[in-house]
Amino acid sequence: MPVTNNKPRELLTGAQTVVRACFDAGAGSMYGYPITPATEIFTGWIKQGGKYLQTEDEIAAGFAICGAVLAGEKSFTATAGPGTVLMQDAMSMAEGMRLPFVVIVAQRGGPSSGTVIYSQQEVTLACYGGNGEGLRLVYSPGNLEELYHFTRRAFNESWQYRFPAVVLTDGYLLKTRGAVTIAKDDLENFPAEPIVKAGTNTHLENIHTLEEELFSKLKKYEEDYNKMSSVVASAQEVETDDAEILIIAHGIVGAAAQAAVKILRAQNIRAGLLRPTTLRPFPKNILDARATQAKRILIVESSFGQLAQIVRAELQPEISTPIEYLQFPGLGVGPEVIVDFVTKSQ
């Protein structure tokens, strides 16, 4: 992604970076509820003068966003863990009514209250939560620049394509403070328009009397989703052209895997990384191509297989490359852990 040299370098935390992106995206309001490790996004937005309301719970925050976007206002929330669970009610309404709902999910340990710190255990919730078919946009940033860029994308693409969007990050990245170059003008903002305009007599439903009505509606949604997928699905590839062992990891674990690949290559091990930057829609074409070429696949994540489940579901069934798993639910995974595993199994 573009990082221009004449932009100022700033020392920012992940949370501050998200706040900046939301302002730059033209967000008009934030509805939120305090929950670690997402709270600093809320307080940061407020400190910078953003319009906001602290609601009585995450349910109200989510539904207030639904109301705001119906009126044409870019609105968002940030939540985590048990809050992400509660958010599914409103996200389902957004899925059913094609509302541009934006939520930053700060993954923490689960299930239940877990830890307030970190995990990659909200992948399934973000991608397939609620009682729908996962017609959502889910972005997984691996560093501060991507956190900014993907938050901008979330607003743009949810308003353009009308699917709820999740910026799926975690407590580690949000707390990390580092040097960032914010490329504000590299992206234009997709304009927001009222979905329910004054004087138009618009009637919107999310419940249908007959099965056939729902089915035909969902078929249309699926068509829209598939058309959008080819444009939106994205991934980063590192040394995949001649990779014998293909590592698949996302978010901050993907960043660790990137460092691991560098170390492994220096030891003459032909490792490569496929790092999906959207989990929904999943970059299936790249996956199939690289999975076919590799001799082994290693899926690394801070969960007991939530990413692996998606990879297997997306992988073309005829591809028989053996898959191994490195799984640490709720625990950080640094480059050394990945390097150790690969070198020991050579």
């Binding site: 009585e56 349910i59 309404m93 004054a198 004087g199 618009t202 009637h203």
Partner: protein, 230 residues
Amino acid sequence: MSLSHNSMPANLAKFCPGCGHPLVLMTLGKVLEEQKTAAEAVLGLDIGCSLLAHNFLPINTFQTHHGRVTPVIMGFKRAHPESVCIGYTGDGGAYAIGLQSLLWAARRDEPITVLVVNNTVYAMTGGQTAPTTLKGQITDTDPTGASNDPLLGPELLRSVCHPEAFLARTAVNDIKTMKEYITKALAAQKSGHFSLVEFLSFCPTNWKTKGSQTLEYLENLKQVFTLGEF
């Protein structure tokens, strides 16, 4: 905007014969027409019998989720303050699953209007016990009879509301008062305050009443639920 027979859509949802909803909706429609605010009116619906109103009035209407119409309407109003925002719900959506949000919207004095159609049961799902079910009333989910007195919504909310918030209860067989209260409620919204009107409403299907029995049942409810402004 007109409510003549010819302007009703062909696939108009079917309220039960004798239901109180059409009476409330038509009165709302009349008030909006007279005040010339139909263009900016926005009607949010709970999921229960309220959902059937989705194409009843020729104004902007959208379904929400059960118990969630209040925050949706609140979000809409905050994004577009010129709109006339009305949340339309039953007693279950208002006082059980949606009570948290209703209480807080009232507490924050959100300038929205919530209309609660109270027939004392969860009607669309077949008549289960609701927050406003009468003490001792037997339903499928309380075969030994409800143990509590009904929850009195406007009374409860008064303790957290701004003095200029409008809270009232009337009945669907009193069109004149319905019109008066809806008008006052929308006026409170215009002045920047919360408003809620509860309507004691007919539900012959779940009350299992016929003809004049339905009216008697309603009159009986008036002995339990005080009518008036709060």
